[in-house]
């Protein structure tokens, strides 16, 4: 289907079903139960899952296929966001022009950065991209304040011109929408104490994510993708055989920059605000973490990694001591206090610590990331040539024991 082999089609369908059912899957606990704290099925977080999924998928095209580790990808996300918000301020609150422009602008910017940075490889490439990203951040934070709004960032204002909207007779109060369908609009379903929220913005973002995912599968399976893998395996050998690798790496760089721009544009479409922190180096580092956590070079891995990190950032960081004390109130006073004190280190503002631990565990014990781990587990379970395990491997093209090619 769609020019994919059977395994890839199944994978795409699986992802489509999972994203469609996310409001149910992410809200496994009834509202009001003490475990409801762990529910992740509210619009903002679901949107972040898919948007950062797109960001990580794009990053993986560069890092997973060519092995070039960019440490400045957040810059493209930020540039995309600024482009999108300006489109909303000047033209229309419809998200389509905003998203298109964000992809274009991020593409052009990554062409510039890629053209310069790709003259070097390895650590020098990483440092160059990092320098570009930090430069963009500093520019957005202060020097370019008239364009970027500085520290405060940009939001749509009542006084914005919004030429197209004005022509169509809308006033300045309209929200981000898709031909009238507001991104913030949600429907709720109550069922025996469970509350499921279906959000327009989430489904729009999820649809875009599926397209992005499909494109990434096509790139992975194309001759172009094969060439990128060759670059990762041994660039010198390619050069010696007379292949000019630069256009390939540059193309991969620009594609992944456009993915980042798309994610940035979608972020603005869901939440109409941009701040320069979006370009800070920690944001660039985050996408590296997402990709490695999920599994470098695997198709679905980056999405899983993005989901895990965003979940921890938003859920774990909100578990404060008051909540912990409520949960462990059944324990005797001192024992409860000890448990709370220890757990408080890992929750709330200590969520980074938990993330760090998980990251270490994954890197040490599951070198292939979460997906690598799943495949390994699957193989152990169906040791002798079980077809489903084979299919999994085939679809991800990630033999866990293999060299860094994947």
């Amino acid at each position: 289907m769609f020019g994919l082999n059977r395994g890839d089609t199944l994978l795409l369908l699986l992802v489509a079903i999972l994203t469609a059912l996310a409001p149910f899957l992410l809200n496994p606990f009834p509202e009001g139960s003490s475990l409801a704290q762990f529910n992740g099925g509210y619009p903002d977080l679901m949107q972040r899952f898919v948007i950062f999924g797109i960001f990580a998928i794009g990053f993986n095209i560069l890092f997973g296929l060519t092995g070039y580790l960019s440490f400045g990808h957040a810059a493209f996300l930020g540039v995309g966001s600024y482009a999108a918000i300006w489109m909303m301020k000047l033209l229309t609150m419809n998200v389509i022009p905003a998203i298109i422009l964000s992809v274009i602008v991020a593409g052009l910017f990554s062409l510039l950065v890629g053209y310069i940075s790709l003259r070097r490889s390895g650590i020098y490439f990483s440092i160059l991209t990092l320098a570009f990203a930090q430069m963009s951040y500093a520019l957005a934070y202060s020097v370019l304040t008239p364009i970027t709004g500085g520290e405060t960032g940009l939001q749509p204002k009542l006084s914005d011109p919004r030429v197209l909207d004005t022509m169509l007779g809308a006033d300045g109060t309209s929200r981000a929408n898709l031909f009238g369908l507001e991104m913030g609009q949600s429907w709720q379903m109550d069922w025996n104490g469970w509350v499921f929220t279906f959000n327009t913005g989430y489904y729009v973002a999820a649809f875009v994510m599926l397209i992005a995912f499909y494109l990434s599968i096509r790139i992975f399976r194309s001759p172009f993708g094969l060439m990128l893998r060759a670059v990762k395996t041994n660039q010198n050998r390619l050069n010696y055989t007379g292949v000019n690798t630069k256009p390939y790496t540059l193309a991969a760089f620009v594609i992944s920059g456009m993915y980042a721009g798309l994610a940035g544009g979608l972020l603005v479409a869901m939440d109409t605000q941009v701040g320069p922190e979006r370009m800070f180096w920690t944001a660039s580092g985050e996408v590296v973490l997402m990709t490695i956590l999920g599994g470098v070079g695997t198709l679905i891995g980056p999405v899983l990694g993005a989901g895990l990190i965003k979940y921890m950032e938003n859920i774990l960081s909100k578990i404060n001591e008051g909540l912990l004390e409520k949960w462990f109130a059944f324990m005797p006073e001192t024992a409860g206090d000890i448990v709370v004190t220890v757990l408080a280190l890992f929750t709330g503002k200590g969520w980074h610590l938990t993330l760090g631990l998980i990251f270490m565990l994954v890197v040490i014990f599951l070198p292939g990331g979460l997906v690598g781990g799943l495949i390994q587990g699957g193989r152990r379970m169906f040791r002798t040539g079980d077809r489903s395990a084979d299919r999994k491997v085939k679809s991800n093209q990630t033999p866990p024991t293999s060299t860094p090619v994947e």
């Binding site: 619009p43 934070y141 939001q155 429907w187 709720q188 800070f280 008051g322 980074h352």
Partner: protein, 457 residues
């Protein structure tokens, strides 16, 4: 920071949890968001059952984590007082007597916390999850103007009340003012207006000022405010140099000051920036210099006790302004310092004070309005005149939702008696001296409007 004090609130929290848990629906029903099913009152997150949830969104990591921690302490204290626990603090001295110590409108106050990381993105994500997931009816906090502006805009869009915490930039209630947002803290303009006369009286009217300004929005508005106010009393501005926010060593910025013929250095810095720049300036011997036959002076427009603590002995004799100081002797301040001190063992900072007051003001407005509906609360707060909350008579101006009150001009104390006793109040500039018109050019001029209050329905 697992303090045993919280244990008191645990049973209460438990009860509240049970109350929430008891709310459930049997049949599946579809309906339009944002309103909830069983208490459809026409506005977003209408509280159901016996409790109401407030969202405390403060920096728990990053450069302003100290301020954030103090804000959170004040919020917890305010919740205790609202629920009728503790000694009631400023509830007893507050001029409005609508609060009865039985929660807000009879509903027990619960809260959720989040980490803004002093980043507008993270702050908005955290606020969104409070609104979408936890059903918070009001968001408060923030320790930086960028965050305050971003979260305020979010609250306006979604239809939730926003009670700004520590934010001093003019923009919050200036060009970025919003109908659903209110600020109790003072602003850059007020700092300038309050400081200038004191500076003129102490240092004379023919001074040449050199500004070092943190290179972001708050720095810009503060520089603008102080420049205009001091030029109005006859000062001359020699130069204004922007310094990166991440700068930790200001030597290279101080050296040119020595070359210029300026005789006053104005440090438009906050937090760690100010601690470092002031320390550098003092190390360079600026304060021992004579320029134009006048003693060289340093001015810090926005002071806080936490900053004074960081700069140590260097703050002695240096003028600045502050929103509130724990050494104030009015009934409200004394009650607050006593109850905060009993709870945590040290006096509150101005960040703690403003957030405590904001929570009280919100609760009181709900009581007076008889509803949590944002439009009702906005109406109750607009033009609200009150006293007894530590700043003397105060008014929430209708046009821009900014509190107007007396502003404190302070000076680093020469002989501090304790590690908290670092600032002394030099002058209390009356409200009338720091008043400005809502369409003042520094506040975004005529283009700045509040817009309509939003209930999110």
């Amino acid at each position: 920071m697992s303090d045993s004090k919280l244990v008191i609130g645990r049973r209460g929290l438990l009860k509240g949890g049970v109350a929430v848990g008891a709310v459930g629906l049997a049949a599946p029903t579809f309906f339009n968001s944002p309103a909830r099913a069983d208490n459809h009152s026409g506005y977003l997150n209408a509280p159901q059952g016996g409790s109401v949830t407030l969202g405390f969104n403060v920096p728990q990591s990053g450069p302003y984590a100290d301020e954030g921690a103090d804000e959170l302490r004040a919020y917890k204290l305010a919740v205790k007082h609202l629920n009728g626990e503790g000694d009631g603090g400023m509830m007893n001295t507050f001029s409005s007597k609508a609060l009865k110590g039985n929660g807000i409108l009879g509903k027990k106050v619960e809260y959720v916390t989040g980490d803004t990381q002093t980043k507008s993105d993270a702050a908005r994500a955290s606020a969104k999850s409070m609104i979408e997931k936890d059903g918070a009816i009001m968001i408060t906090g923030g320790s930086s103007s960028g965050v305050a502006v971003a979260v305020q805009a979010l609250c306006q869009e979604t239809g939730i009340m926003f009670m700004a915490g520590l934010t001093h930039s003019n923009d919050t209630t200036g060009k970025d003012r919003k109908a659903n947002g209110f600020r109790h803290f003072f602003n850059s303009y007020m700092s300038g207006a309050a400081l200038a006369p004191v500076l003129a009286a102490n240092y004379g009217t023919d001074r040449k000022a050199y500004h070092l300004t943190a290179d972001y929005n708050w720095g810009y508005t503060t520089e603008e405010a102080v420049t205009q106010a001091t030029e109005a009393v006859g000062w001359e501005t020699v130069n204004a140099v922007k310094t990166p926010l991440t700068q930790t060593d200001f030597s290279s910025y101080i050296a040119p000051v020595l070359q210029s013929d300026a005789d006053v250095l104005v440090l438009n810095h906050y937090g760690g920036n100010m601690v470092n720049s002031l320390t550098n300036a003092v190390q360079f011997g600026l304060r021992d210099k004579l320029v134009n036959n006048k003693n060289f002076e340093i001015v810090v427009p926005l002071y806080s006790r936490l900053m004074a603590k960081g700069a140590g002995a260097n703050v002695k004799g240096i003028f600045g302004s502050t929103n509130w100081h724990w050494s104030l002797q009015d009934e409200g301040s004394k009650a607050f310092v006593k109850s905060f001190g009993t709870e945590y063992g040290f006096p509150p900072s101005q960040a703690a004070h403003t957030t405590y007051v904001q929570t009280m003001l919100y609760a009181d407005a709900c009581e007076r309005a008889g509803t949590f509906n944002p439009c009702g609360v906005v109406e109750a707060l607009e033009g609200f005149f009150f006293s007894g909350l530590g700043n003397g008579p105060t008014i929430y101006r209708k046009e821009d939702h900014q509190c107007f009150k007396d502003v404190l001009v302070v000076k680093g104390k020469e002989n501090p008696e304790s590690e908290f006793d670092l600032l002394e109040v030099v002058e209390v500039t009356p409200m009338s001296k720091v008043w400005y018109s809502p369409d003042h050019p520094q506040m975004g001029g005529e283009a700045a409007t509040l817009g309509e209050c939003n209930t999110g329905a």
